[in-house]
């Protein structure tokens, strides 16, 4: 194979894997563990991406003394200026990155918290649909809202590591940043799942009435889960916007949500390691298709469509053949359970 850049392939795969794994981990927490059928993952993802994109582009121009009324970041002058100014000041870039990670966590989480209110009293069907339509509305809003670039989106978002001249080193460092965030998400989710809250969540999923009768405040718990899950999804959106250095409304179609769903269904609902595995497998196939297709030279059928057909059928087939996924859900490790196991071993 000529021109197959193996290192570049692995870096781009791992980067995509890191971002999608955050999505699938949080989705697993919301849907697999606590039973909120979140079909609106893309809302929080999009909010995170757009917040960081808007914040960074506007602030960089403003702090460099450019008049943003005359040269807003979404028109051509703004993009050129951003290209010039974007990678001059490392401290500013990193500061903006931290600020936007923080803000998108808060805002996306808050939106998730608010959205939990109308959906509390209806079953999973209605919840799923309401969140799904929220996603479409966000896209319509972004398509027609001029300050964030309408249908063109925002371009030339300065990468926090943009000041590093060598692109390979830069990509690797950014990959490490993403994997660090993934590790953080995984740890937080793991701790949550193995805490008393995690067990309450499972009880809410299995039988809401019973959980309510046991004195658990189900609405509050659902709102909390949506807050945490959406917050981390917002961070994933931020990472995405800096990775692609551009955002546009058509990146946030509902298909993104189904991608994450396919990952958790393949990997196993309610199993965090499973969602990591699912994310790895699906992003690997995705990247391979993107890298291999130009070599095959098929023009009639676009590989993009084939990929989505595969994802859709995968969800259906896995649900019918093996609904527990590759790694089935395991009982939560509590000190009491461990003690019992040790006693049994003796």
């Amino acid at each position: 194979m000529i021109g197959f850049d193996i290192v570049g392939f692995i870096i781009s795969w791992l980067t995509l894997f890191g971002i999608y794994a955050i999505l699938s981990l949080t989705l697993n927490m919301e849907s697999g563990v606590s039973g909120v059928t979140n079909f609106g993952k893309v809302v929080f993802y999009g909010i995170g991406a757009y917040i960081s994109a808007t914040l960074t582009t506007y602030l960089i121009l403003m702090l460099n003394g450019v008049d943003i009324v005359e040269n807003p970041p979404y028109n051509i002058n703004g993009v050129i200026l951003l290209g010039e100014l974007g990678s001059k000041n490392p401290v500013l870039n990193i500061g903006l990155f931290i600020l936007s990670v923080f803000l998108s966590f808060i805002v996306a989480g808050f939106v998730g918290y608010l959205l939990s209110y109308p959906i509390l009293r209806v079953g999973p069907e209605f919840v799923g649909f309401t969140l799904l339509s929220t996603g479409e509305l966000l896209r319509i809003f972004l398509l027609h809202f001029e300050p964030v670039g309408a249908s063109k989106g925002l371009m030339a978002i300065p990468n926090p590591l943009g000041w590093i001249p060598d692109s390979r080193v830069r990509e690797t460092l950014y990959l490490i940043v993403i994997l660090a965030f993934l590790a953080l998400t995984y740890t937080v989710m793991k701790r949550l799942l193995n805490s008393p809250l995690g067990r309450t969540l499972k009880s809410v999923r299995d039988d809401e009435t019973a959980a309510l009768c046991m004195g658990k405040h189900v609405p509050k718990i659902k709102a909390l889960v949506l807050f945490i899950g959406s917050g981390f999804t917002g961070v994933a959106g931020t990472l995405l916007s800096y990775y692609f250095t551009s955002v546009n409304p058509n990146m946030f179609v509902p298909s993104v949500t189904f991608n994450a769903w396919a990952m958790i269904i393949l990997g196993g609902m309610g199993n965090l390691t499973g969602s990591l595995l699912g994310a790895a497998l699906i992003t690997l196939v995705d990247r391979l298709l993107t890298f291999i297709t130009p070599l095959l030279g098929i023009t009639v059928i676009s590989p993009d469509y084939v990929r989505w057909i595969i994802i859709g059928l995968l969800i259906v087939v896995v649900l019918i053949v093996n609904p527990r996924g590759i790694l089935p859900e395991k009982p939560i490790k509590t000190p009491a359970l461990q003690q019992v196991e040790e006693e049994l071993k003796k």
Binding site: G123, G128, E136, F258, V300, S302, I309, G312, I320
Partner: protein, 310 residues
């Protein structure tokens, strides 16, 4: 005003089958969006590839094809899942998977057809049918789409009424939607009735899709998906149970989307493209103020002020 009536017809034809299928089979069916699109594309392919210009033939074929598609979905996916005892949420997720597969399958089909006929199927123009009479009332020229959808809506509503109220089949359907187990015990062939319901629902929705081709200026493979918000909101207003309330929902949403947005546009300068937001507000209002309490397994919480409950 004509648009308002026009949309009432469309929304009624699209959302009645949704309510009917949910209350009989308890599957929330996202493939409903594909039913609309596939109905429309049956007409488009007939027109573009075979040169058909009769709406009756198109509607009939769409009814059969999409009805068959719905039955296949039910046999291959939904029944299998329900047999395994999957939760309703799982069945819904599988319908979601089917939705995405069907949607991109249509894109592939349009690409293949484009390859053979070199016509643009991804954005197909309005189809003029030869067998719809054009009627002029006083000064009004009624468009083909208006006449066709009016006739079709009246046909659909009256035939649904007749089927549900006057035939054995309709009684069986209503019995299953009230209590499936009891109905099965009293000797109703449950699977047969459910399959027939799917066929009917898919077919009616597809006819709606065919009508859409005589109205919309650009038919795209996402025609049904862009309608899904409105159709499901209408279904929710009807609580996914009552056909009458669903029709009222269709009128409300059509009113908000046509007259409401025109009003806002004139007085507040809200762009017309923000039309779906009104529907979304209607959806949230329905969920908060008049929730279909406990629907789909939710809990009928009532939020009260603290003092009251003690």
């Amino acid at each position: 005003m004509v648009n308002f009536l026009q949309y009432i017809f469309f929304y009624t034809v699209f959302s009645l089958p949704l309510t009917l299928s949910y209350r009989t089979t308890k599957v929330i069916n996202f493939v409903h969006a594909n039913f609309i699109t596939y109905g429309a594309y049956t007409a488009v392919f007939l027109h573009g590839v075979l040169g058909n210009s009769s709406i009756v033939i198109a509607a009939f074929l769409a009814f059969v094809i999409v009805g068959g598609m719905a039955v296949l979905d039910n046999l291959l996916v939904f029944t299998q899942l329900q047999k395994r005892g999957s939760s309703p949420a799982m069945v819904m997720i599988s319908s979601m998977g089917l939705w995405i597969a069907y949607r991109y399958l249509l894109y592939v089909l349009t690409d293949i057809m484009h390859f053979y006929t070199s016509k643009n199927f991804v954005s197909y123009g309005r189809i003029t049918y030869s067998d719809i009479p054009s009627i002029s009332l006083a000064e009004f020229n009624l468009s083909q789409a208006f006449i066709a959808s009016m006739v079709a809506t009246i046909l659909v509503v009256s035939s649904l009424y007749l089927i549900l109220e006057k035939t054995r089949m309709g009684r069986a359907m209503r019995a299953i939607s009230d209590n499936a187990t009891l109905a099965e015990i009293s000797g109703i062939p449950r699977n047969l009735v459910i399959n027939l319901t799917w066929f009917l629902c898919g077919g009616i929705t597809a006819v709606g899709g065919v009508l859409w081709t005589s109205f919309s200026g650009a038919i795209t493979p996402e025609a049904g998906d862009s309608m899904i918000l409105q159709v499901f909101t209408i279904g929710f207003i009807g609580g996914l149970a009552s056909l009458l309330r669903t029709s009222i929902g269709a009128i409300i949403i059509a009113f908000m989307e046509n007259i409401g947005i025109a009003f806002l546009n004139t007085y507040l300068g809200v762009p017309v493209s923000f039309r779906p937001f009104l529907t979304f507000i209607a959806l949230l209002t329905t969920l908060i103020l008049f929730p279909p309490l406990g629907a789909g397994g939710g809990l009928p919480y009532r939020f009260r002020k603290r003092g009251l409950s003690q």
